[in-house]
Each structure stands twice: as C-alpha cells, then as structure tokens.
C-alpha cells in the first residue's frame, strides 16, 4: 500500500558520479535533498576503469572542483598513481589522470554524503515519476513509498532498463551484477520523455598473482603528484604502478574466428556503443591492418588483488574471453575473476534539455550523466553538479547557472549535448573545445571559482586562497614583463644549451619565456629577483606569456561568439511559420528550441542561410 514517505526540495535518482555531485550541491545550497540508490554499497561506484581524469576529463575534474564539486577532492584522497598526460604536447592538452582505489573512492564518497546536512540517502528503486497539477513531482518506490519533491534530477546511469550481454547470454541487470531499474523507464515514457538505447562495455578483472609481470613494461606515476583539487594542500603519493602489454596475431585470430558469437556482430544488441571507447573486437574488426593493440594492467585498489585490463573491453562469450586473454603476453595463465561484458541501457535524447539541464517541457525535472547520453564518470559528475546547482537555484528563485563554451569544458559539454544531441555515448575531448588554449586545466579556478563563490559553494578560506593566488599571478606577470636580464655568460650558456640564440643586449624575462625552448626552471640561475611562489603560479604565468598571441586571438573569437549568443531567441517561436527557413531547419530548431542565434548556428542541419533568415526575422520583429 502506498504511503507518504516525505517531502523534499530536490530528489535525486541515482547516487553515481552525477547523483553525488547533484545531491551534494543541492544540499549545500540549503535545499532539503534526498538521493535514491538501488544499492547503498554502490554509491560512487566505478564499474569501469579504476581511474579518474584523462584527456579533457582531467579538465572537467578541475572545473568541477573550481565550482565547488567533490570529485577532485575524493580522487586526491584515494589516488594510487598520478600522471600528467600529454606533457610536451602543449598546455592546452595537459591532462591529469589518477589511478584510484576503487572501493576507497566509493567509501569516502558515501561517507561524505552521509555527513552532509540537508541530505538524506535512501536505498530504494524509484519505479514511477509523475507530476501533480501544482507542478510538484511524485516519486514512488518499489516499496510503495511516495515522496514529493519540487525538483527531480534523474541520474540513473546504466541502471535504467539495464541489460548485460556476454556472448549468447543476456539478462536484465545493472552494472556489477546489481539490480537494474526495471520500471522507471516505462513511467518516463508515459510522462513524455523520448528515450533511446545506448550501450557500453567493460573489460575483465583478473587476479594479480596469476599475471606474469616479468617481461611487461612498467608505468610509473609522475613525481611530484599534482592534485586535482585546489583544496588538496598535501599532494597524494604514488602508491602503485601499472603495466603495459600488447595483443598479438593470435589474439586477433581468436577474435576474428569467434566474431559471429559477439552479440554486437550477431545483431543481438541494438544499443549504440561509444565510437571513442571501442571493445577489443571492434578495434580488431575496424583496424584489421593493425598488428597489435596496447593494453594497460591497472590495480583496482590496495587491499584487493583484482586488476583491470584497460583497452580490452568485450562482449564475447566467456570461453572466447579466456582464450584471447590467455594469448596475451603476461596473461598466459591469468585467472579471470569477473568477465568482460557489454551493458545496454535507456537514456534520453538530450535535445529535450536546456542549458541548465532542465527538461524544456517539464519544469523542475532535470537529467544528468549517462542518462543524458554521455559516457564517463567525469562527464557525469560535471552534469550532476550543473543540474544540482540549477535545481537549487530555481527553487530559491535565483538565476540559473549557465556556463558557456568560452568559459569551460563543462559549458562545452552541456552545449554540445543540448544543441547537437548525441548519436553515441558522448565523451569529452580537448578537440571538442574551440577555445582550448584558454580552457586549460591550470586556470580552471580563475575561470570558475568566482562563479562557484557567487553561487555559494566556495568557502571563505578557499576564496581567500584563490584571491591570493590571483594576486600572485598578476604580480609575477608584471615582474617578468618588467624585469630585464643583462647579457651575461651565465645567461648565454643557458640559452645556447637550450638551442636558442644568445643575447648581446639586455633582454626582458618575458621575452625569454616566450621562446619555446625556454622555461622557468632553466632560467632560475639568472633570474635573481624571482620570488618564492607556488609552482602553479609559475606554470600559469609561463603559459600565458608563451601563448599570449594565441590567447589574445581566442579571446577575440570569444567576443565574436558572444555577440551571436547575445541575440536571444524566445522559447515560444513557431519556426514552422518563418518562411524562408528550410524544412530541415524548421524541424531542428523546433526540436532544440535554441536560446540564442549563437546556439542555433551550432545546430547541425541549420545552415548559414537559415541563420540569416533568423537574423532578418529578429530584426523585423524588433522593428514591428
């Protein structure tokens, strides 16, 4: 029998990476919040790789942290090994990635949620979601408990209609053998949401002692470790290593011989998988000429012998998995503890959302994470934070937090989802940002902490620290621009040894830093007035000087972009009545309902001609 179980400002369905950030942000902003999870032991679970960050994802974690989110802090607390990827490829693509202790991560996160005032946690499967006449949302659990909330954030991950595939075998399941959310999907469809099926996959977990590490390449962490969070004052230590191995001709042969038994290739799975994170059978089928593929053997934690085989996800039958894993050097006798699998799930067409991640047709209903068509923990957390913040702001009658493409990867992620939609699970990449020399991981705080502060997620202590760092950057920038180093033997020795031309007259420190061959470190000896500052300050100043020309030009591009962004489009335009728009454009514009001409111009299927029609229409409307 149904019973009234409680009333909340915000209800969050799912306590994965999106649900965590959403519920913490909402509760921290003072909203009475309840988060529902099917399994209380799965809060902040990492059902795929035991790592946080990576290219562009590392940027997202930094940005989440700069806004006042939790992911970076927790990752720092449980880091096993940390590396800054892409050093040498340029500051725009430097990305932090940390191997983490998977169980610890989940434990720490769960504890943080438990300790958070205003936040209740419930182990329950939400089976029904309806809206009352007055706009209040009603959630019903499998146990017939009825909760009422002013706003609901759906963050169901791969649980929603989850179905696992291993070869010919398939069964309804959430990730890691947990129960799926079997009923909510039907309720959402009834409500009027457009759902679709996506799939993702994960490799096997294997027993460490059954691996022969003798001939495998070791991958160490970077020293010193740079933390994700601006709040982590004592950097974590590297506590584990990873190993690298390769597939070979035999692996390829086994997979090719058995490809017919893959549910993907036999057509059993309808869900669309991520292009950017293919299974090993996908890689072999698509790149037949490639003789070998790399894989990483990563630890799942310090108190477990389970190892993760990055790069080897699969949905082939267990016997085939055993055969091809055994074909790999070092894994000849490996013991599989958990098999690789593919999982298919329901998600929503994100074109139904606006930039605060609220459903345009359902006020108070938000979506975040894989439910919105993305993939990855970091992408999920970023959206959870946006949805949580905006749900709270709306309830408090405050302006929504809209992050644009020019200010963050989070803004780029949200804009891509709601404007371009997705055809396969969306993964963040640095190449998705046209402003990536500005959206760097070293200046995430500069870009976003003032916003986080205004919203109310940045503590006084952190804010003071931020302001101090900004001041240090400013002063150091001034210093290097005004400091002139006299020509000296010592200086020229440095210059020549770094293969750049010596000087005969005094030279500005900033002009030396501009030279691609030079950096702060190598000029230390001759830069006598250098103050003692944190490494992050030097790093930031050096990048902004070295790339000054590019940064300036990207800023000009941003100004141009924001001009089109400022041309607002009302939400109630009937695009079918604007003659001159091609019918494809009418259809796309009606679906996306862009909030500005700028957003409209990024919709695929809307041509420049259509944009000019819109501009003319807007101009006429203003005249009228």
């Amino acid at each position: 029998m149904r019973y009234n179980a409680g009333e909340y400002d915000v209800a969050v369905i799912g306590a994965g990476h999106a649900g965590i950030e959403a519920s913490l942000a909402s509760a921290r902003l003072g909203c009475r919040t309840c988060v529902f999870t099917i399994n209380m032991d799965a809060v902040g679970n990492c059902p795929c790789n035991p790592s946080i960050g990576g290219t562009a994802k590392g940027h997202l974690v930094r940005e989440i942290d700069a806004l006042g989110g939790e992911m970076g802090k927790t990752a720092d607390a449980v880091t096993l090994q940390s590396r800054m990827l892409n050093l040498g490829k340029g500051p725009a693509v430097h990305s932090l990635r940390a191997q983490i202790d998977r169980r610890e991560y989940s434990k720490v996160m769960k504890h943080k949620l438990e300790l958070q005032p205003n936040l209740h946690m419930k182990q329950a499967e939400v089976v029904e979601l309806t809206r009352e006449e007055n706009g209040i949302w009603q959630l019903v659990t499998r146990m017939d408990a009825v909760y009422r909330a002013k706003a609901v954030i759906i963050a169901t991950g791969t649980f929603l209609g989850g179905k696992i595939y291993i070869g010919d075998v398939s069964y309804e399941s959430g990730p890691d053998g947990m129960f799926p959310a079997a009923f909510l999907g039907a309720s959402l469809k009834k409500l009027g949401l457009r759902l679709r099926r996506f799939k993702t996959g994960t490799p096997a977990r294997v027993l460490k002692s059954s691996i022969d590490f003798t001939d495998l390449e070791v991958q160490y962490g970077d020293e010193p470790v740079i933390p994700f969070s601006y709040d982590t004052l004592t950097p974590p230590k590297n506590r584990a290593v990873c190993h690298i191995s390769w597939t070979n001709e035999k692996t390829k042969q086994i997979i090719l011989e058995n490809i017919g038994r893959s549910p993907m290739y036999s057509g059993k799975i309808e869900g669309i998988g991520p292009r950017y994170c293919p299974s090993i059978e996908d890689k072999i089928m698509r790149f037949r000429d490639k003789p070998r593929h790399q894989l990483f053997i990563e630890p799942c934690g310090l108190d477990t012998e389970e190892m993760y085989l990055q790069g080897m996800s699969s949905s082939l039958p267990e016997d085939v998995q055993i055969a091809f894993y055994h074909s790999i050097k070092g894994l000849e006798h490996v013991q599989i503890m958990r098999s690789a699998y593919a999982i298919e799930y329901d998600c929503v067409d994100p074109l139904q959302l606006n930039a605060s991640l609220e459903f345009m047709d359902f006020p108070g209903l938000y979506g975040a994470g894989q439910f919105n068509g993305s993939s990855g923990y970091e992408e999920a957390a970023a959206q959870g934070l946006v949805a949580g913040i905006n749900a709270a702001l709306k309830i408090q009658g405050r302006e929504p937090m809209i992050l644009d493409r020019a200010g963050s990867y989070i803004g780029t992620l949200v804009d891509d989802l709601i404007t371009k939609g997705v055809t396969d699970p969306y993964r963040m990449m640095t190449s998705r940002s046209e402003y990536r020399l500005i959206l760097r991981q070293d200046n995430a705080d500069e870009r976003l902490t003032p916003i986080g502060r205004k919203i109310g997620l940045i503590s006084d202590e952190r804010w003071e620290r931020f302001k101090l760092k900004q001041k240090q950057k400013e002063e150091e920038r001034k210093r290097v621009k005004s400091t002139v180093l006299p020509p000296s033997e010592a200086l020229n020795r440095i210059l020549v040894s770094h293969e750049t031309s010596p000087v005969t007259t005094g030279v500005r420190l900033s002009d030396l830093l501009r030279r691609p061959q030079l950096n702060y470190e190598c000029l230390k000896e001759v830069d006598l007035s250098r103050p003692d500052l944190p490494a992050a300050v030097f790093e930031n100043v050096e990048i902004e000087i070295k790339y000054e020309g590019y940064i300036k030009r990207q800023k000009a591009d941003i100004a141009e972009m924001r001009r089109l962004e400022a041309q607002k489009l009302p939400q109630d335009i009937d695009y079918t009545k604007i003659s001159g728009l091609r019918s494809e454009a009418q259809e796309k514009l009606s679906k996306v309902k862009p909030s500005s001409v700028g957003q409209a111009s990024r919709i695929s299927g809307v041509s420049p001609a259509d944009i000019s029609v819109l501009l003319i229409w807007l101009a006429r409307k203003k005249e009228a």
């Binding site: 990827l85 693509v93 640095t430 020399l437 091609r582």
Partner: protein
Amino acid sequence: MENKSIYNTSSKTIAAISTPQAPGGIGIVRISGPDARKIAGKVFTSSRGKTLDDIKGYTALYGRVHDGDEDIDEAIALNFTAPASFTGEDVVELSCHGGLYILRRVLKAVFAAGAVPAGPGEFTRRAFLNGKIGLTEAESVMQLIGAQGEQAAKAALAGHDGALEKKIRQIRESLLQMAGHLSAWADYPEEDIPEVNEGSLHATLCSVKGELERLLSQFEAGRAIREGVVTVIAGRPNVGKSTLMNLLSGCERSIVTEYAGTTRDIVEDTVILGDIPLRLSDTAGIHLTEDPVERIGVERARERIREAQLILAVFDSSQELNDEDRELVSFVLRSPAIAVVNKSDLPIKIDIKYIKENFKQIVYISALSGEGLEQLKNAVAELLHTAGLNPADGILFTERQRDAARRAEDSVSEAIVAVESGMTLDAVTVSIEGAISALLELTGERATEAVVDSVFHNFCVGK
C-alpha cells in the same frame, strides 16, 4: 501565398530591370513576389487575349506592354510559378526590346501597377532565403551578370558550378585531416596513435599555403577580367596615341559598363583586349608648366595615372626623347605600365635602351602595317597576370571571399611559423582550426552576421 504575417519575409512584390543597363538586344524587367502575375497583367496584354493566370509555369505569352492606355512596346511575358522560379516566388519576366529608354518606361509602368523597386541584390537575396541557391552560388550569379568577355563568363560559371567551392573543400580536406590526426594524438595518448610527423605536417601546411596564395594572387587578375581595368593612355601630343586608339578600335566594344564599382566618369571608351575589358581614357601631358590653367590639367592627368590599373605610355620612335617623355617615364616608374612605341617609316631616333631600362614590357605598334595588337594583348595579359589564369580551377570572386581566404592563409602561415619555431602542437592545431573555420566561412558553411551582410550589400539591383 496568403500568409502575410510578420513571419513572411517577402510579402512585397518587387521589380527591376534584370539585364545590364546598357544598349543591347533584349532587356528584361523582372517582377517577383506574391502579386507578380496580377501586376504584370496590368501592364501586359497578350495578343491572343490570354491572361497570365490562364497559363502554366514556364510558359510564355506574346503581346504588348503599355503604361495605362499608352502603348510602349511589343514584349514576351514569361511566367514562373512559386516555388519553381529563380527566387522561389511567383515571377513574371517581361522581355522587351533592349533600349534603356523603353525598359525604364516599362519598369515605371510596373511600379505604377503596384510593384516596389527591388533593393540591391534583393532577387538573389530572396532566392537565397528561399533555399534556391547557396551562398557561393549567390555570389557567382551576381558575377555572371557583371561578366564581361568570354573568360569572365567562364569563371563565373565555374563559380556557379562550384569550382571555387570544390577547390576550397579540397584545401580544407587536407587541413581537416591534419587537425584530425593532431586531435586524436592529443586526445588519445594511450591509444598508440602514430606520432605526428612534424616534417610532413610542415610540408602539408606549406602546400596548403601555396594553394591559398595562388588563389589570392589570382584575385586581382580575376577581377581585371570581370570588371575591367581602368586604363590610361599617356604621352605627349602627336606621339601616336591615335594610332593606338585606332588599333584598339578594332576590338569588340564592351557592352557593360555600369556594374563594377570603379570610377567611370573618366572612362571614354571600353574595349575588350583579349579577355580583359580596358576602360580607356587618354590624358594630356604631365609636363611641368607655369601656366595655371594648364597646371590644373596636368594635375588631373597625374591623378588619373596614379589611379590607373594599367598605363599605356606612348612614345614616337622617330623622335628623340624630350623632357616631357622623361617626366612621363619617371612618373610611371612604379606603376603597372607598358611602353607603347609607335613606329613610323621615318628613321629611328628614340633612345630605345632608356625605354627598355624603365619598362618591363615594350610593344611596338605601326599604323601602316597595323601590327602590334597581338603583342599588346600578350603584354597586358602578362602584366595583369591573367595569362595563366584557369577559371576552372576556382577563382575568388568577391572581397568577402578574398578576406576569408586571406585569413585562412594567415592562420596557415601562423601554423607554419609555430612548427618552425618549435611551438607545441596544441598551438599549431589551434591555428589549423582557425584556417578551417575561415574556409568554412568562405563557402558559407559557417554563419556570421558579417558574411550575410556583406554578401547582400554587394549585390546590384536587378538580380
């Protein structure tokens, strides 16, 4: 279309003369918009008594045009029904005898019947807005009207068929491939993506830069063919200017003079030499003089020479060079000038070595033999770089296209400098992407208000 709401961008019916406004065979008054047939019906009466509403699209009626009761001319009315017309609207074209006077009278009558004058480029704008043509196509349609001479028509057609677009796409494709590789390499550091080879990156960038430079360098040549060049015939009295004029008068006369934006008040005649329309004017001498009235004339002559795109400096071979000749030589030293030496049957006295030292091109003409025209044609083509121009390779037509190509070239150069100076590849990638987006703008695949504004601003009335 009865929908007259504010959404409707084309509720008015517009009209204009849509053939070049110059004496010619046939002239067309084009009427476009919801009331095109009704308005045309008021000024046109078919000789068989049919009305435009009686006939199908793409059919014609023969009859007469009149202004009220007053008969103007015989005419053919061509009926196009929406959306199967150039503009995508109902269109009627009245083809009359091409005299400017008659066409203007017909247009006046059409206005009196309810049409409004078409704004600059409005027909093409409507065609564009109704999805009938793309952006580059729209621009080349305009060029087609303005085209003078065979080669210009070919270039405009190449634009119409997309030769420019094809070329740009081809350039963009190689940039996109590079950017794609660089992105994959940066975004997937653990996927053993092959290292980006800076040598081949540099080579590809240089070849793209070469392609863009070629397009840009041909812009002026393309424009010379399309719009003609302001040409000044300079030289003191009686050196052979009239001989030159006589030679040139053997050329085809240009029919179009009003379209290009060049100053034409000084144009006295336009001839087509080879492929290039020359807008000729001749000048008085440019010698030093004390006479105040003469000085004004000299100053004007200097002014014309300074503004000229081509100077034909004429000398008489039978006379020694005098101060006035030398003054002319030194004045045109840095200008695009050709020395035209008029040969008579008198003994040669001119210091030809001096002329050779000061001009890259020398052409001998002779009134007696009529020789020199072919040579002059080649010299002009060489000087204006039109000789090697192959319009089918794609030519930049408009300032807007040139500006975009230039920005693309700047970005590519920047990328080259970055590679050479050892900048990190993320910076190189950003420059390559800058070039790609400039090229997308060129072909109209990326919207900025500026593109649309400038495109339409540059259209002439009547298309």
